[in-house]
């Protein structure tokens, strides 16, 4: 059975996590998303809305993450994996104080899951003050450091350069301004084969300029050391990288999101195929192409 992608949506209270998740549901493009929602959340996602968008939800009644005694979140993911059929993807809206890295760690540990990424949502108007707060600042910085992609909300009212600089000082993860959490779901899920019903062209053209994509293909086995170097040090702005690489030792499935690289054994192929994606303006496909040429040059 193929791995189910798990997307972690983190960020402090009021960052806009619920808006982003709601948007993903509305633009799911035929993917069956299963959303884990916190039942005590200040703004609950309406289960009806989720159902209307073709998704499903599991409500958690207990948002505490302090100890294993309340491992409800992990077990809810287990319940999702036990469903038949399994969802195409699982989305977890983390509670406002949880460290998204601890949830992402589950996707990296559990053989039935793959990590679709950790998206930390940041309220551009509030982030400076939050980071300066002596009580909560360090925890906010931890959420930002855990991100594979930073989504800035509340960007419609003024300049966001200051917020962007604060974030860049914490992590090189790509930043994407997305008022009301409107980001293109294909950036998060588009590379996954687990979306058989997805329309060939996105139904939401206004997003088309949100991300840039690169694809690479090589018919012959590649030198192992060079391809490994490329996978470990991709160009700036890359959010996800997926495909198969074949070297002298065999074929492996590649799944990179943010800084997490997962290589798993795969059925033997003769060549290699990779797809990369990142936010426009941050990710330059030509950089990736140059590195690919270097790695694959005879």
């Amino acid at each position: 059975m193929s791995r189910v992608p798990l997307l972690v949506v983190g960020g402090f209270l009021g960052a806009g996590k619920t808006s982003l998740v709601t948007h993903l549901l509305q633009q799911s493009g035929g993917r069956r998303l299963l959303v884990l929602v916190n039942d005590f959340g200040a703004v609950n996602i309406d289960a009806g809305l989720i159902a209307e968008a073709g998704g499903d939800s599991i409500a958690l009644t207990n948002g505490c993450v302090c100890c294993a005694m309340t491992g409800d979140l992990y077990y809810a993911v287990g319940d999702a994996l036990d469903r038949n059929p399994r969802p195409d993807a699982i989305v977890i809206e983390a509670s406002g104080i949880s460290d998204p890295a601890r949830i992402a760690a589950l996707a990296l540990a559990e053989p039935d899951l793959s990590l679709a990424g950790t998206v930390t949502v940041v309220n551009a108007e509030e982030i400076g003050a939050l980071l300066d707060d002596p009580q909560i600042g360090a925890q906010i910085a931890q959420q930002i450091a855990a991100a594979d992609l930073l989504v800035l909300t509340r960007t419609e009212h003024g300049p966001t350069e200051a917020a962007g600089e604060r974030l860049a000082a914490i992590t090189p993860a790509p930043q994407l301004a997305a008022p009301f959490g409107r980001i293109d779901p294909d950036l998060l899920f588009g590379l996954d084969p687990a979306a058989p019903n997805a329309p060939a062209t996105p139904a939401h053209h206004h997003h088309a300029d949100h991300f840039a994509k690169w694809t690479g293909d090589s018919p012959a086995p590649l030198p192992a050391d060079r391809i490994r170097a490329l996978l470990e040090n991709p160009p700036a702005g890359l959010y996800r990288l997926k495909g198969w690489i074949t070297d002298e030792t065999g074929t492996r499935e590649v799944h990179r999101v943010g800084r997490h690289l997962q290589l798993s054994p795969a059925a033997a192929r003769s060549g290699s195929q990779l797809v990369a994606i990142g936010p426009s303006g941050r990710f330059r496909p030509e950089d990736m192409a140059a590195l690919w040429r270097e790695a694959t040059a005879g």
Binding site: F12, L13, N38, F40, G41, A42, T61, N62, G63, C64, V65, C66, C67, A68, M69, T70, G71, D72, Y74, Y75, V77, G78, S95, G96, I97, D99, R102, I103, A105, L106, L108, A109, E110, P111, Q135, I136, A138, Q139, S264, P265
Partner: protein, 537 residues
Amino acid sequence: MSETIIYTARRILTMAPHQPVATHVAVRGGRILAVGDVDCAAPWGGGRIDDRFADRIMLPGFVEGHAHLMEGGLWRYAYLGYRDRQAPDGVWWAGLTTNEAIVQRLRDVPGPGPAIGWGFDPIFMSDQPLSRADLDRVSADRPVAVLYSSLHVLVCNTVALKMAGYLDGAEVDGLIRDGAGQPTGELREMAAMFPVLRRLGVDFRALTGGAAVLAAFGQSARRAGVTTTTDLFSAQTEADLAELQTIVEGEDYPIRLVPAIGVTEGDPVELAAMMARMAAKSGPKLRLGAVKLMTDGSIQGYSARLRWPGYVNGAPNGMWNTPPATIRALVEGFHSAGVQMHIHVNGDEASEVVIEALAGAIAKGGPRDHRHILQHGQLMDAAQFRRAAELGLGVNLFANHLYHFGDQHYALTVGPDRANRMNACRSALDAGLNLAIHSDAPVTPLSPLFTAWCAVKRQTASGRVLGAEQAITVAEALNAITLGAAWTLRMDHQIGSIETGKFADFTLLDQDPTEVDPMALKDIAVTDTVLAGRVTA
């Protein structure tokens, strides 16, 4: 009119100031009719003398103000702790001090299926770290897993590692490897543990609720002499309240239960309305209406929020499980609605934030008889206790920590001087506060006499005395595990002392805690408990 039974005891320590010692207690209709000598019931027409406790010491039933239902759930697995411990079914399980003994006990777990153990605590063990190789000696074809007492770590055998795909060279945070790069079997934190737990069918959620867990919890408490206790971060919902009511209010259920509903966020107005609906379902044995709030984490896990100078080993400050702004909003909302709050505060920054939040809320009005309780309060200093007293708060301090984690606190977490003032029962009483002390079972074993011993002797597992100046007397400790804890549950008018009119809840001991060497407090045996006049079993 129901029958009057007059129980005779060698001595009754009533905890009532006007008559601290007696020899007889008359019970009618589940309540105390009279206390005194053999003639105490004469004005009421006398009664039938019951001498079965004639050579026992009787105290009011103990009250454990901070425990969790999970205490009743873990016993379905093999007990592997260092200290002897009695299971809910009454069987005494000897403490295990070597890896070999652990292997032997796990071999005895009936198959087929996984062999699972719990309660293992490496800080007490002088043996080599328990490893996959040890557990492979339990079985080469059954999965085997050992849960640490903290539940944050497990060790498993090769079969279990293989089931989770952990032998395929996976790079997983928390999957510990030896010098040669091979997994040792140790898995740290839930993300790494979960793939094994899931495949072995270990569901923590099933350990914290349901009829079997409730039954075991009741027995576990009764055997420790506890007649009233809490589930202090309850996930109880209104929808399944009827089942809980039926079980707890049943005549055979051996304890009174006070669940405090866990809250970390949400609209306090809506939540207060829900609490009022739940409170209306309270009966003589099941009490609802209070909430439990979380703030920081734990000191030994370095997740408690500390004031300057922080952790002595340089670890960064801990984490909030509820951010301060949310704590303030919840505290204000619940206080103004008259909902009693039990608030988890381990580090002294957490207690400071909560005290200030309560001060702000109380200044705006709301009930004067709120009885909000600071739970754990492990690093509160004298000034915080005085401030808490000014606000009419109560404290329930984690005395058992002094023994179980005191050496770690001294050496690693907060250093000698602050370790010496941890769980400062003396300062709390001197500030005029109502004091309770607790086990946080299953974090540490449920046993109020052991908890009292901790508050009196303040000894760590290695025998070091932490802050002798913060010790309290045996009498004060006995009050803390009866009337003091009853106050924190808003039940001191009904339980906690042996006085006319109160529920006839008693604990019988084989020795007098006020006469033994205080060092022996923890070794006194609980022989029986009585709930509402009925001897429980």
